[in-house]
């Protein structure tokens, strides 16, 4: 196989001048809009004023806007993007050859930056608006650590203070992630902590707990709202995040259009939905407008199956119930994946926009077990070079499955998936996999039912 004869290069890089200059707000094109966030007490739609206590003004505007299709990207954010973007769209020639499939496989690689993932795309945007509003700093939570790292980098760049609540079990298992954040000047606190009221309550109720994302969110929100000049920022789930992450899909589409490529299948891993939502945005827009058709697949861990086994209902975004209610596919705000679950994608809910699209039948969802995910990750690493994040590897697994189906049928389908990041800080999980001690876990129907029993009663 020789790449020189190939028309399509291994890596399609847009020129910096070809980078999208505006984010795309998919909600503007949706016929059924995602349901509004509700005030947890009044059960009434959250107003901009109410949201402004927690979030930055401009981000509140973006969160509530389902009308305007494009948001020009501020120049300062474009400048930052240029430090690591455009991200390459890679033709997986080596994987195709290894699989001996007639399918054409492409992946958008978002890991070529120090945060190691796509999270940086929204981190710089959120930090920018915070800075622009004259704030002193921001607070956030992080689980696997990508988001906290991304936000630390963005804050260091802009000179903002950054307080990260890191899920305790991750804090202990991933001291290196913590040090990366410290390198960028962030303060990192294991959650639950005694720094907040909600943290102290959770510690009292569950002494020795390893924490959860939902709990860390509660702490970060409490901290932000109790300090002058601070706001809370979130790396996934929210519609504003999906807006910023649309840069992934826009670049991908621009690169594909340049070479006349049209994907048949688009695959993304789904935790809170930030990567999937960003990758599919412009393609889904075309699909909704009837301009093109794509098969779109969300891949979630069998151990945290929000789309596939959750309920489409209003739920709390956090364990401490300090956040507004969102209508989404959820397993209940008290659902925590089994301790054997490695990597991210452990959020109990799902981005409201993606939830509505899924409810409307515009996309599919499937689950995969983690041992098969790590096997796919290793197979991919050995031929494509990149050592993928466990999260991204969920998409790899399904992409390989689809490519193998093509091999059986002889169809030359074009498969696109999102390679959200690298797994350099996940070697402990890789080690478990290598040593054969990684296990799979599928929650029982009873466990799922127990999580769903905690959903708040909302009548609209």
């Amino acid at each position: 196989m020789s790449a020189i004869e190939k028309k399509i290069p291994y890596k399609i890089y847009l020129e910096e001048s070809e980078m999208p200059k505006a984010w795309y707000n998919l909600r503007a094109d949706m016929k059924n809009k995602p349901s509004p966030l509700l005030n947890a007490e009044t059960k009434q739609p959250m107003t901009a004023e109410e949201l402004g206590v927690v979030f930055c003004e401009e981000l509140v505007k973006q969160e509530l806007d389902d009308v305007n299709a494009y948001y020009p990207i501020p120049q300062e954010i474009l400048d930052f993007y240029r430090m690591y973007r455009p991200a390459p769209l890679v033709r997986a020639y080596c994987l195709e050859e290894k699989l001996q499939t007639p399918a054409k496989i492409y992946y958008k690689f978002e890991g070529n930056n120090t945060s190691g993932s796509h999270k940086l795309n929204s981190a710089i945007a959120q930090a920018y608006y915070a800075k622009n509003q004259g704030l002193t700093g921001v607070t956030t939570e992080t689980g696997a650590g990508q988001w906290g790292t991304a936000l630390s980098m963005a804050c260091a760049y802009l000179g903002l203070d950054c307080k990260v609540y890191m899920v305790k079990v991750s804090y202990e298992q991933k001291p290196h992630r913590r040090e990366v954040m410290r390198t960028y000047g962030a303060s990192v606190t294991p959650s639950p902590s005694t720094e907040t009221e909600v943290g102290r309550k959770i510690l009292e109720a569950h002494p020795g707990t390893g924490g959860s994302l939902g709990c860390a969110i509660s702490e970060a929100v409490e901290k932000a709202t109790s300090m002058e000049g601070y706001r809370y920022v979130l790396g996934s789930v929210l519609n504003q995040v999906m807006l910023h992450q649309s840069i992934i899909g826009l670049e991908t589409k621009a690169a594909m259009d340049k070479y006349g490529i049209k994907p048949d299948i688009i695959i993304g891993c789904a935790g809170g939905g930030s990567n999937l939502g960003g990758l599919i945005a412009p393609f889904m827009g075309e699909k909704i407008r009837g301009e093109a058709d794509y098969r779109i697949i969300a891949v979630e861990p069998a151990s945290c199956p929000s789309f596939t086994r959750g309920k489409y209902a209003y739920d709390y975004c956090d364990t401490g119930m300090v956040c507004p209610l969102a209508k989404m596919y959820t397993l209940g705000s008290n659902f925590i994946p089994a301790p054997t679950h490695a990597g991210g994608l452990r959020y109990h809910g799902m981005n409201p926009t993606l939830s509505q699209l899924y409810a409307d039948g515009l996309m599919e969802a499937t689950t995969v077990a983690q041992t098969e995910v790590f096997a796919a990750a290793e197979q991919f690493a050995r031929v494509e070079g990149i050592l993928p994040a466990p999260e991204s590897s969920h998409a790899i697994k399904v992409a390989i499955d689809e490519a193998m189906k093509c091999k059986e049928t002889g169809e030359e389908k074009t498969i696109l998936f999102g390679l959200t990041g690298t797994g350099y800080f996940d070697m402990m999980s890789y080690e478990k996999f290598h040593n054969g001690v990684m296990t799979d876990y599928v929650p029982s129907d009873e466990e799922i039912a127990k999580g769903l029993a905690g959903l708040p009663a909302v009548e609209l």
Copy 2:
């Protein structure tokens, strides 16, 4: 500051079609050639036949060749290069602004691949020639782990067996690096081990030793020469490695030429010399041929100062003295940097070609202390985004120093440095730095003299 108005982009990416198609052999242009490798017993120049016991045939040819200036890069290697090359040449706009310097700073970033460094450039070449010769596998040593990772990746891609002897102290401190290598199918043994005669001898003489690069080399060489179908490969020091690494400099020069940029100062960190030699190769060629002048600076750790405090003499390449003798700047094959030394650049000697160039006054060398190196690394990370490897940060430190001199004098010098890799697996060292427990170490004159006293007697 807006990048859009700037003529030179943040990142200059060559097209894949513009990638160099041949490596450049700087020795062909040198007036004083590097001295030949000697048989340690006979003290006569090593023949191709003798070297062929240890190294692959084609690599022996490259090692001994100081006549041919260009080696066409085989297509399979070019295909592999395309997975992560061309590497970006980055204009450090953000660092310049932070420093408020009139200097123009560029860095060639070689860390955008899973091995995390430039080592992959030579790993794939060496693995390719081994495969081409019909070998079953290769053996090698690794210290900080970049080279072992790179070779593992190359071997996985080509389906070669890969046995890595990892300096024991690194093996224990960097379990994650080990797991990356295992992901790529390599076997990793802590050195000294009981697997080899030389390992057993060293263990007997120094029970509980943490090992050294020189010792791991001895084990890997013994293993290779005692097994059918195996050869030894080395990630630095050798002239063949510098040949492969010339891709760094060739790409850099092509990118600079494209935009009419000419560096005044070229800076690279120097351990065994692979990165520095690769980066400067085409520039040094011009300098030797009298076509251009550049100030070229090698930066080494104060704790392992081969150029600046070593002796230009024949020495063993390894502790076990199983390798040929090389004439190089050396601290003696028994010299081991103090245990407080973090990261790589811990080899006692230096590439023979670079050694000759330095002896001829064609380049400078300087040392830096590790705490100032980590301070520079952190400063760089916060503005340029990339979290640099400790090794690369030696070059960053001196680049910043030179840029600050420009600030004083008002000179608009163009500074180029090699950013060889990322520091994701060095967070333990970063942690020490953050916690203020990192110390500097400068060997005393007595220590240096003790290392040099072990040099073999060679009369030519």
